[in-house]
């Protein structure tokens, strides 16, 4: 018993004495360590903001910043360094970005990532010297779209945060959100349900047309303006007289196209690639085709555009000769299959018939895109025979 008590006392005493010693040492060294760590952080931050001095951590909880921003540091001259965590190809993509007092990106570097292709190491250099105004001019890298798009978007978040920290306001909505908001303001009665209208004929002065899913209400995009028209053709948004004329013409064209549309639902043997067909007064047919490109045919390989068809507009005479061919939409691999949207490619089909439509130059390196495109063009001739039989 006596021994036990002695053991407890001596062990306790040793612990107390050592604790005091530790507390004393910590007291001496803690301020030096803190100073050193601050200097280390300073050095790391200087990498992205070379002229930065005396960095101080900013309490970001006081501001409404984009969710990617995890840390922010201000510096003496009015510049900021932001640390962002985003998701590129994989989660945990951490980026450090320095912005000087004028809102110019002075450096961006990836400090931790699980990206696969290594573009995160060099892409930051392309974003250097960009501002909020011109960051969108930097292209993403083909084949590493996820990584580079996430990178660019994170830097944009940093630039927006810079504006907010300087007392300004920034539009933190994503591009989709901005579009949805604009459409809703222009045509509230559509309840946010819109489909994009493919412009079948060149309608001068209009960039994009959205149609209400419910009725014949439209939203016309002219430059920055979103102008709504209800199903009776009344223009709901205030705009210039010129725009009103353009819109009225466009509406008439759209309705005329709608009138000439052929109902395909009853034509069961119509090739599935034919999405819509129109018959003009002169007897020509216009077809909208969905071609299966790399995204669908190359399905065993990963592709961000998986399942996105190539949308083609073909006008052909009733005796089966293509008059014009044009790619309206495509989501093929950038710089490879995307060449199917080049006039030099699709104009090759002009004047072709069933017998010689395959005799065109393929897109180099994009066999699947070319083949998918050709198959869809081949369907044009079948479709016209069927349509002729009906009318």
């Amino acid at each position: 018993m006596k021994n036990n008590i002695k053991s407890v006392i001596s062990l306790t005493a040793i612990c107390i004495v050592t604790s005091i010693l530790l507390a004393f040492t910590n007291n001496l060294t803690a301020p030096i360590i803190a100073k050193q760590e601050a200097a280390a952080v300073n050095d790391a931050l200087t990498v992205v903001l070379p002229n930065g001095e005396d960095f101080q951590s900013v309490d970001i909880t006081k501001y409404t910043l984009p969710s990617t921003i995890t840390e922010a540091y201000s510096e003496k001259n009015g510049g900021y360094v932001f640390k962002m965590e985003t998701t590129g190809y994989d989660v945990g993509f951490v980026i450090l970005c320095g912005i000087d007092k004028d809102g110019v990106v002075k450096g961006a570097t990836s400090i931790s990532s699980k990206e696969t292709l290594g573009y995160e190491k060099s892409y930051g250099d392309e974003l250097k010297d960009k501002t909020l105004g011109d960051i969108d001019t930097v292209a993403t890298v083909a084949g590493a779209t996820k990584t580079t798009a996430a990178y660019k978007s994170a830097i944009k978040d940093a630039l927006n945060s810079f504006v907010i920290l300087n007392g300004g306001t920034a539009d933190l909505r994503s591009e989709e959100e901005i579009l949805a908001d604009n459409l809703n303001t222009a045509l509230p009665e559509a309840n946010g349900e819109f489909e994009i209208v493919l412009i079948l004929e060149e309608i001068n002065g209009i960039d994009t047309i959205y149609k209400s899913v419910k009725n014949n209400g439209f939203v016309f995009v002219i430059g920055e303006e979103f102008i709504g028209t209800d199903s009776d053709g009344n223009i709901l948004t205030e705009t210039s007289e010129t725009n009103k004329t353009i819109i009225e013409n466009a509406r008439q064209t759209l309705l005329k196209w709608a009138d000439s549309q052929i109902d395909l639902t009853k034509l069961t043997d119509m090739p599935t690639s034919v999405e819509a067909a129109y018959k003009a007064d002169n007897g020509n047919y216009t077809l909208i085709l969905h071609a299966a490109g790399y995204g669908i045919n190359g399905g065993d390989k990963y592709h961000p555009a998986s399942g996105e068809p190539i949308v083609i507009k073909v006008t052909a005479s009733k005796d089966g000769k293509i008059i014009t061919c044009k790619t309206l939409e495509q989501n093929e691999t950038a710089n490879i299959g995307s060449a199917c949207a080049d006039e030099s490619f699709y104009s090759q089909f002009n004047g072709k018939t069933e017998n010689d439509y395959t005799e065109i130059d393929a897109i180099s390196g994009a066999t699947l895109t070319t083949d998918g495109y050709k198959n869809a063009i081949g369907d044009v001739f079948t479709a016209i025979k069927i349509l002729k039989g009906v009318s």
């Binding site: 053991s7 040793i14 050592t18 040492t25 030096i32 360590i33």
Partner: protein, 229 residues
Amino acid sequence: MKNNSNLSIILKGILLENPVFVLILGTCPTLATTKTVIGAVGMGIAATAVLICSNIVISLLRKVIPDSVRIPCYIVVIASFVTIVEMVIHAYVPIIYDLLGVYLPLITVNCIILGRAEMFANKNNIAKSALDGLGMGLGFCVALILMATVREVIGVGSFAGISIPFLENYTVKFFQEAPGGFLVYGVLIALVFKITHGKAPYKKEFSCDSCPSAAFCNKAHCQEAKEEI
């Protein structure tokens, strides 16, 4: 004579009872921190500081600490010194702190330190214990530097971070990895055995005593070995 014996306490730690090459203690930090000479020097100095301090304190308290709780007491003392050393290194030599990383706090469980506490400090006076700590620490340093020199010169083609012309173009990366470490370790042990042949203590002369569990271990040959000493 007295001076002689004091000196011999220090010297035996360097060669005859070298903790790394003869006693085969502290193998883990030896392999881990001998990639670079600077890391080895840092580790050696840190461990020596802890070894001297803990030997002194344990020798000082050897009559106060009850036998039954001596191991926890030693560990508390050693851990405290390690923490103090860690804080001091972090504050004043951050390069070494970053280089040693997790191996710095792990000095606590370095068996050289606990081994010497059990084997020497709790049986000898303060002065001798301090000298033993110094000797063993120097031995550890010498061993680490020797190994690190071989591994860094062959593996990276530099010495203490300074590139060696010609050699830097013909490096053998293998020596930087764990297998290379084991190879160098083995060769050096053999070399030391060759040099000290017949003079180094045989394993059984220290095996049980250096083992913190010896007191609870009833293996017959251990008991015999203990009695012989």
